[in-house]
Symmetry: C2
Subunit: 153 residues, 2 copies
DNA sequence: GCTTGACCTCAAGTTGACTTGAAGTGGCAG
DNA sequence: CTGCCACTTCAAGTCAACTTGAGGTCAAGC
């Protein structure tokens, strides 16, 4: 199993070396050795990076992701928590789908003002309904964080 | 149509007054009048805020969202762009679904190391396949932004 | 053996999205 | 008329997630 140095990992993952060092510092990934000064990564890290990218895309902070995948990059948290996360993702997926449908609708709809188009209002409402209460509770609880970078970048 | 002052909007939307002012400053919403010094918002703004929340949840930056919904909070951009956005959302939804499935799988799977579980690997791979090329191109193009906060907060 | 270039560390800077604090304003209840 | 209190502005602070820059290391090719 040959090792990769940081430039190689960067090239294959599309993540800059500086970010990779930052991730290592943050405990999200770890290099398995050094060649001189140079970090050597196992190819495994590419999979971990994919997981990290997925997590970021899902709106989790690096800190949360770090907590999600323990030491070796494999998830090591209570099943219950995992299921809760999955449920949250379901909610988020529904919202995104609503936004997507809204955009598609707007792209087609010839109405002069969307605010008056019933289809538009219904679409927007859909997003709010599901989990509205839960969302509010979460808001009150989490005062002051959850910036959630969207990634995809 | 009665107007709301900022505290009222904050209470109904769950967004702090300071953030609302910030959004106004950024051109995402606008107050329709002043009562003394106090901003007065049309109830319409609540719908706009919902759209903004959806956009944030979808991973768009406030700047992007501002570009998405013009002046009065209604989308005013080329249909083609809207459709492209919708397609991007589709991709993102697929990724989130993959992450969700991965989490659910991990919550159930009794394998000692997930990295060795074929189901796990397949799930993770799914996310990467679709749009890998497109993603890379975007990366090269957008150097240096797209931090994407996740919101949902 | 010398250069080169990809790596290293560490501190400081950047960006986006807000929040916080100080100092002021003004409508309205008493 | 007097307070009060929710609002106002503006500057500065904060936090996450990186990036940038200065100054240094070292293995490999010439």
């Amino acid at each position: 199993m040959k090792l990769l140095d940081i430039g190689e990992v960067a090239a294959r993952s599309g993540i800059k070396p500086s970010a990779l060092r930052y991730y290592e510092e943050a405990g999200l990934i770890c290099s398995v050795a050094r060649h001189g000064l140079r970090r050597q990564f196992s190819p495994e890290v590419l999979l971990q990076l994919k997981l990290i990218a997925m997590g970021k895309s899902a709106g989790f902070s690096l800190h949360e992701i770090a907590g999600m995948f323990g030491r070796n990059g494999l998830p090591q948290i209570p099943r219950k928590t995992l299921r809760k996360r999955a449920d949250e993702l379901d909610r988020q997926i529904r919202e995104l789908a609503a936004l997507r449908d809204t955009l598609r609708h707007v792209a087609e709809c010839p109405a002069p003002s969307h605010m008056e188009c019933p289809t538009f209002r219904r679409l927007v409402d859909v997003a709010g309904k599901r989990g509205g209460r839960a969302r509010k509770a979460e808001l009150l609880k989490k005062r002051g964080q959850r910036r959630r970078p969207l990634t995809a970048a």
